[in-house]
């Protein structure tokens, strides 16, 4: 269970998060939606400790994320970054097995490579890709490698930051399906941030909408279309008219 209570974060005079309250039950898939620049990525980075909130508490299974063993805490997480964030200087398999080649989860090199190739296969990539460098891959393949890296150490919690951004609709659909399948078969808790409504419908158990630094609406994905919330309605139908100010 991930619980955020009254989380605030400002960058200078720009108040990005103004009291976020949210809870994500264990083993469920939560998708955070909201317009560009509404603080979705900041919220996710606050949970991981990449950004320190100004106030409020964030707990994972009852434990404050800022206390305890940081390595053990991070070992529970996997993350797919928006641009993949693959390490240019390492081959694909070394990227996937990064966590398995060093630190507390270190394995023998051959075993780590085998696991990496298995994870690559799981995301639909052939073993021949393993020895290529990230720059030799297409955008869709890089996303898949990023996904393979996120699940390589079998994490309990997986974060997906804009998993389909920059992909064509077919590849986006493939990535959405992969995420749904993997989260279900691993039984992981997932948190995805996106503004792609097809991703929301494919991935989410629950949806939360972030706007003006607070959660405007949260509930099961099945209730999203009948929420009665004007902000959510405007967003999911992509209307220019409504309570969310659209800059023309």
């Amino acid at each position: 269970m991930i619980e955020l209570t009254d989380v605030h974060k400002a960058f200078g005079s720009n108040k990005v998060l103004r009291g976020v309250n949210l809870s994500i039950p264990r083993g469920t898939s939560m998708v955070i939606i909201g317009g560009s620049g509404t603080g979705k990525s900041v919220l996710l980075k606050c949970i991981l400790g990449l950004v320190t909130p100004d106030s409020g508490t964030i707990r994972v299974d009852g434990q404050d994320v800022n206390t305890g063993d940081r390595d053990a805490f991070l070992a529970r997480f996997g993350m797919l970054f928006q641009g993949g964030a693959l390490f240019d200087s390492l081959t694909v398999w070394q990227n996937v097995a990064f966590r398995l080649l060093r630190g507390s989860l270190k394995r023998p090199k051959l075993e780590a490579r085998e696991i990496a190739i298995e994870k690559l296969r799981r995301v639909g990539l052939k073993p021949e890709v393993a020895d290529l460098f990230p720059a030799e891959l297409s955008g869709g393949m890089q996303k898949r490698v990023g996904l393979a890296r996120a699940i390589a150490a079998e994490p309990e919690i997986i974060f997906f930051d804009e998993p389909t951004t920059g992909l064509d609709p077919i590849m986006a659909g493939v990535i959405n399906e992969l995420i749904r399948e993997i989260v279900t078969e691993m039984g992981a808790t997932a948190m995805t941030i996106t503004h792609d409504m097809s991703s929301v419908r494919a991935i989410a158990d629950n949806v939360a909408m972030l706007h003006d630094g607070v959660i405007k609406w949260t509930g099961p994905v099945a209730q999203m279309d009948n929420s009665g919330d004007p902000y959510l309605d405007q967003f999911i139908h992509g209307r220019a008219e409504g309570p969310i100010e659209a800059v023309r």
Partner: protein, 260 residues
Amino acid sequence: MSLSAPLARLGRTVLGMLAMVGRVALFAISTVTHLFRPPFYGREFLHALLQIGWLSLPVVGLTALFTGGALALQIYAGGSRFNAESVVPSIVAIGMTRELGPVLGGLMVAARVASSIAAEIGTMKVTEQIDALVTLSTHPMKYLTLPRVLAATLALPVLVGVGDAIGIMGGYLVGITRLEFNAAAYLKNTADFLEAWDVISGLIKGAVFGFIVATMGCFYGMHSGRGAQGVGRATKSAVVAASVLILAANYILTELFFSA
């Protein structure tokens, strides 16, 4: 406009500079403290040693060769005004080992390495690779900064030593081919007047300059702004800061080592 406005601007600039000095100092201290806390990434260290040390040899060697040759010509031209042409070998050797070897070597490595480190780490930052490292339980200071700083601190003295030898050889080649020195006499003169401390002080300077170069590259890379412009600015700042600090540190070290 109030008369105090220029003073206020000046004050803000000074405070900003002091804050920057403080941030750089804390960054350098943090890097050093990581040296004594595991884990240590040996593979990254060896890779950095190759990139910073071995691959800088051509540029440092060529710089030293031409500088040694030009130095011999200048000292000969100056010395001939008061019949002191014979000092060319000893002054070339002392000048190269004490000053020109470490300073020019440091500046060339600053241009080549500080820029490359800042651009690489800056790009990693804007493409979220640094964040990815953290989520993969790997401390960026340990994985990116410490190996580079350690490699540069150890590689620069070696580069300076090689540069000294090549620079002296440049002076020797010019001396025997253009200035009509006897080859054996040139070498004997060099050996007779060159002291161990001349060489050692230059090597110590090299280590300090190596630390400065890599620290500046890593600092500005880690604090790079967004986008291509941010990385470009970080790269430029790293080279400028490293070069200025090398020259400042050279003066301070020269005062420490050689002031009467």
